[in-house]
């Protein structure tokens, strides 16, 4: 089950654990603003091909705009 986390834990996981940040918003919204070093895989494009960019051995943090 995915774990819900908040800002401080995001920072810790990225800085200390090398977690990967994935912005799942549409590309236009990602291009306007996103978290540092986040990559963009829009939810509609999330499949075996697009996730090949991710390291399966590392933690993955997904986010969108807010509680959507």
């Amino acid at each position: 089950m995915p774990t819900a986390i908040f800002r401080d834990e995001v920072r810790r996981l990225v800085q200390e654990e090398g977690a990967q940040l994935v912005d799942v918003l549409p590309r236009e919204e990602y291009e306007e603003e996103h978290l540092p070093h986040a990559i963009n895989i829009p939810l509609k494009e999330l499949d075996r091909e697009t996730i090949a960019r991710l390291n399966r051995d590392a933690r993955v943090i997904v986010y969108c705009h807010d509680y959507q």
Binding site: M1, P2, T3, A4, I5, F6, R7, E9, V10, R11, L13, A19, V22, D23, V24, L25, Y30, E31, E32, E33, H34, L35, P36, H37, A38, I41, L43, L46, D47, R48, I51, L54, R56, A58, R59, V60, I61, V62, Y63, C64, H65, D66, Y67, Q68
Partner: protein, 160 residues
Amino acid sequence: MSPRAAWRLEGLGFERVYDYVPGKADWFASGLPKEGNLALSPTIGDAARRDVPTCAPVEKIGVVRERVRKMGWDRCVVVNKERVVLGLLRDKELSSDPKAPVEEAMRNGPATFRPNEPVGKMAQRMQDREATAVLVTTSDGRLVGLLYREDAERLAGVQT
């Protein structure tokens, strides 16, 4: 959207998946760094004066007034140990009974704004409401600084 993405990733074989539920709205409202085409647009967090004096609710008005005026300010933000904003002392409150504790004289629950608000919009809003200054805090209420309208207008002018 992110919960569905997190479940989808687990379904695709990822074992350590986390969902940053409050998302980028929370991140930006905290004044944390960002990237992207709009990342360099000026925000009120850029213009807020971070050296605004602060005091604790249990301090005496007279002591705070002396400190604030020595620093050349005419207002002071009341915060707790976590720097969460509790109130505001303007010139009027700073001039009240010097022996009274701050918490009795302060203006409770002043309006606050997030640091990622575009500075141009805020300058216009402050003009419309004839506000000379507003408080800027993170989404969890911690003080970022005090934004003066003149600073917002100056930075917005640079933007246009």
